[in-house]
C-alpha cells in the first residue's frame, strides 16, 4: 500500500500548492476589473455569442476516426523501437494490425464519412 500512499501525498501536495499560490496571488495582486478584462479570452478576437453553441455531429465521427489512428500511432512507436527483438513474426503481426485498421478506413471512406456534408 505504501506506493499508493506516495501517489496520495503527491495529490495532496499539488492541491495545496495550487491553493496556496492562488491565495497568495489574490492577496498581493491589484484588483481593478473592467468589462474588457472580464470577457472570455479568444486570442485577441472579440467574443461572439454564447460559449455553449451546437456543434455538427460530423465533428464527432471525424474525431472518432482520428482517435483510432492516434491509438495506432501509440502502438507503432514501441513496435518500431523493438523491431529487432520481435523479428519477422512481430513485423507480420503489425501488418495484420494495420491491415485491420485500413479495412476500417476503407469502410468509413466508402460510407462517405470523410466527405463533409
Amino acid at each position: 500500500m505504501s506506493e499508493y500512499l506516495e501517489v496520495g501525498l503527491f495529490l495532496v501536495a499539488s492541491a495545496l500548492f495550487y491553493a496556496v499560490t492562488m491565495f497568495m496571488a489574490s492577496l498581493v495582486s491589484p484588483h481593478a476589473p473592467t468589462a474588457a478584462k472580464q470577457s472570455p479570452y479568444e486570442c485577441g478576437e472579440q467574443p461572439v455569442g454564447e460559449a455553449q453553441v451546437r456543434f455538427g455531429p460530423n465533428y464527432y465521427i471525424i474525431a472518432l476516426i482520428f482517435v483510432l489512428f492516434d491509438v495506432e500511432a501509440i502502438f507503432l512507436f514501441p513496435w518500431a523501437a523493438a523491431l529487432r527483438e520481435v523479428g519477422m513474426a512481430g513485423f507480420i503481426e503489425m501488418l495484420v494490425f494495420i491491415g485491420v485498421l485500413l479495412v476500417g478506413l476503407v469502410y468509413a471512406w466508402r460510407k462517405k464519412v470523410l466527405s463533409w456534408i
Binding site: Y4, V103, R110
Partner: protein, 480 residues
C-alpha cells in the same frame, strides 16, 4: 504452425468478419453472398476446433500457448464450440427477417462475427486484460447491433439503454479488475489464484474487488439486481439480435466468470459462494415473477432468460465440479433450445410486426409442426421430462443437494413451477385460439427450419440420452 493452430478459430472468424464488412461496400445488393460468407466463417471456425478437440481434454492442454495467457484446453474448446454454434443458429434463422425489414445485412453479419470473435477470445484467455478486451468487443458490437433498425425508435432506445448501463458496468468491472491486480500484482488468473484471499471477518479491499467483479459481470449476464436493461433492450432490438443477446454474450459472460472465479479466486470461495447463491435466488425468482404478467413475447423471453441466468448462477454458487458440470450442461441445452425457439419467433415476427401473444393465436391450426416444436422448446425451458432442460435442472438440483444446499435446490424447484404459467400462456394461445382472419400466414424459410430441427434434436436427443454431453462436460470440468 503448431502455435497458429491455437488461434485458428479466432483468425478465421476475424477474416470472415473483415471480408463481410469489405464486400458489403461493393455488393450491397447481394446480401446472400454476405450471408454465405458469414455462415462459412462460422463453419470453418467450428471445423478448426477439431484438431485440438481430437487430442482430448488433457491433450489439448498439453500445448498451452504462453502458459498463463492463452489456453486452448477442453474448457475453452467447449465454450468456443458453443459460441460458434449459437452464432451459426442466429445466422441461419435471420435471413428472411433481414430482407423483409431492410436491415443493413453487411453490418449485421460483420458485427455478429466480431461479437463471436470476442466471445471465443474470452473462452481462451487466462489474463485479465485479454478477458476485458473480449468482453468489450462483445459489448460494443452488442450496443451497435441492438440499435441496427434505425427506422424503429424502440431499437434506438434499446441500444441507448444497453449502451449506458453496459458502459457503467464495464467501468465497475474494470475497477474490480484493477483492485485485483493491485492486490496480487498479477494479471494472469493462475498468478492471482496463488495469492488472492479474502480475510475472514472483514470485507476489506479484497472483498470490495470481488463485489465489484460480481456487479460488473452481473450486468453482462443479466442477473438481478443488475437486469434493468434487459426487458427494453430485448423488446426493442431486431429479433435476431435479441436471440443472439439472450445466448451469446450471456454464455460468454459465464465462461469468463467461471474461469475467473474458479481459477483466479478459488481461495475466496467461502466469500463469494453465499453472494452468488443470493444473487441466483433473486435472479430466478424475480425473472419468473416479472415474466408472469408479460404480453409481449420478446419481453417475456427477456425475463425468462433472466430466470435461466439464475439457474446457471446456482451451479456456480455450489462451487463443486458437479455444479460446474451441471452449469455447462444447462448452458448448452439452454443455448440450443432458446435459439430454436427464437428462430420460430423470428419467423412469426417477419410477417407480424408486434410480437404480442395475440399474434400467436391459432398458430397450431396454421402450422402444426412449428407450434408443436415451440411447445417442446418451452417444455424444455420449463424443465419437463423427457427434454434436455429437465436433465439440466436435475443435475443442478443434484449438485446443490450433494453440497447440502437444500434451500437453494428448493428455490429452484419452486421456480420451475413458477415458470409454468407464462410459457403455457403462449402454448394456450397457439392451440386453443383460432387465428385472426387479418393475420398474414407465416412462411418458414429453410434456415428457420434447419435451426428448429437442430433445436428439436438437442431438446429431445439430450432428453433421451444425455450421456455424450454430460461426459464432455465432466471431462472439461476435470481438466479445469
Amino acid at each position: 504452425m503448431a502455435v497458429a493452430l491455437h488461434f485458428l478459430p479466432e483468425l478465421i472468424v476475424l477474416a470472415a468478419a473483415l471480408l463481410v464488412a469489405l464486400l458489403d461496400l461493393w455488393l450491397e445488393r447481394s446480401r446472400q453472398v454476405l450471408h454465405w460468407i458469414a455462415l462459412a466463417g462460422i463453419a470453418l471456425g467450428l471445423a478448426s476446433l477439431a484438431p485440438l478437440a481430437l487430442r482430448g481434454p488433457a491433450g489439448a492442454e498439453a500445448l498451452p500457448v504462453w502458459a498463463e495467457l492463452w489456453r486452448t484446453d477442453g474448457f475453452a474448446l467447449f465454450f468456443k464450440a458453443l459460441f460458434l454454434v449459437s452464432t451459426g443458429l442466429v445466422l441461419l434463422a435471420d435471413r428472411r427477417f433481414v430482407e423483409e425489414r431492410r436491415l443493413p445485412a453487411g453490418e449485421l453479419y460483420a458485427m455478429l462475427l466480431f461479437a463471436t470473435l470476442g466471445m471465443i477470445m474470452m473462452a481462451s484467455s487466462h489474463n485479465l486484460m485479454v478477458i476485458y478486451i473480449g468482453l468489450e468487443l462483445v459489448g460494443i458490437t452488442g450496443y451497435a447491433l441492438s440499435g441496427l433498425d434505425k427506422s424503429d425508435p424502440r431499437s434506438s432506445e434499446a441500444a441507448l439503454k444497453y449502451f449506458l448501463l453496459g458502459a457503467v458496468s464495464s467501468s465497475i468491472l474494470l475497477f474490480g479488475l484493477s483492485l485485483v491486480y493491485g492486490l496480487t500484482g498479477s494479471l494472469t488468473l493462475e498468478g492471482i489464484g496463488r495469492v488472492f484471499t479474502v480475510p475472514e471477518g472483514g470485507v476489506g479491499l479484497a472483498g470490495m474487488a470481488v463485489l465489484l467483479l460480481l456487479v460488473g459481470f452481473g450486468f453482462k449476464i443479466a442477473a438481478v439486481p443488475f437486469h434493468m436493461w434487459v426487458p427494453d433492450t430485448y423488446q426493442g432490438s431486431p429479433t435476431p439480435v435479441t436471440a443472439f443477446l439472450s445466448v451469446g454474450p450471456k454464455a460468454a459472460g459465464f465462461a469468463a466468470l467461471l474461469s475467473l472465479f474458479v481459477t483466479g479466486l478459488p481461495q475466496a470461495t467461502s466469500f463469494w459462494r453465499p453472494l452468488l447463491a443470493g444473487v441466483a435466488v433473486l435472479t430466478m425468482t424475480l425473472g419468473n415473477l416479472a415474466a408472469l404478467s408479460q404480453t409481449n413475447l420478446k419481453r417475456l423471453m427477456g425475463y425468462s432468460s433472466i430466470s435461466h441466468t439464475g439457474y446457471v448462477l446456482a451451479g456456480l454458487a455450489v462451487a463443486t465440479p458437479y455444479g460446474f458440470r451441471a452449469m455447462l450442461f444447462y448452458l448448452a441445452a439452454y443455448a440450443f433450445v432458446n435459439l430454436a425457439a427464437f428462430a420460430i419467433i423470428i419467423a412469426v415476427g417477419t410477417q407480424r410486426q408486434a410480437h404480442e401473444l395475440a399474434d400467436y393465436r391459432g398458430l397450431g391450426q396454421q402450422n402444426t409442426f412449428m407450434a408443436v416444436a415451440l411447445t417442446i422448446f418451452f417444455l424444455s425451458l420449463i424443465g419437463i421430462p423427457p427434454t434436455a432442460g429437465f436433465f439440466g435442472k436435475l443435475y443442478l438440483f443434484g449438485a446443490a443437494i450433494e453440497q447440502g444446499y437444500v434451500g437453494l435446490a428448493l428455490v429452484m424447484v419452486l421456480n420451475g413451477v413458477l415458470s409454468v404459467p407464462y410459457y403455457y400462456a403462449v402454448i394456450k394461445e397457439m392451440f386453443m385460439g383460432s387465428p385472426e382472419p387479418s393475420a398474414p400466414p407465416v412462411t418458414w424459410p429453410w434456415g428457420v427450419e434447419a435451426a428448429v430441427i437442430a433445436g428439436l434434436v438437442v431438446a429431445l436427443g439430450l432428453g433421451l440420452g444425455s450421456d455424450p454431453l454430460l461426459r464432455a462436460a465432466t471431462a472439461v470440468v476435470n481438466a479445469l
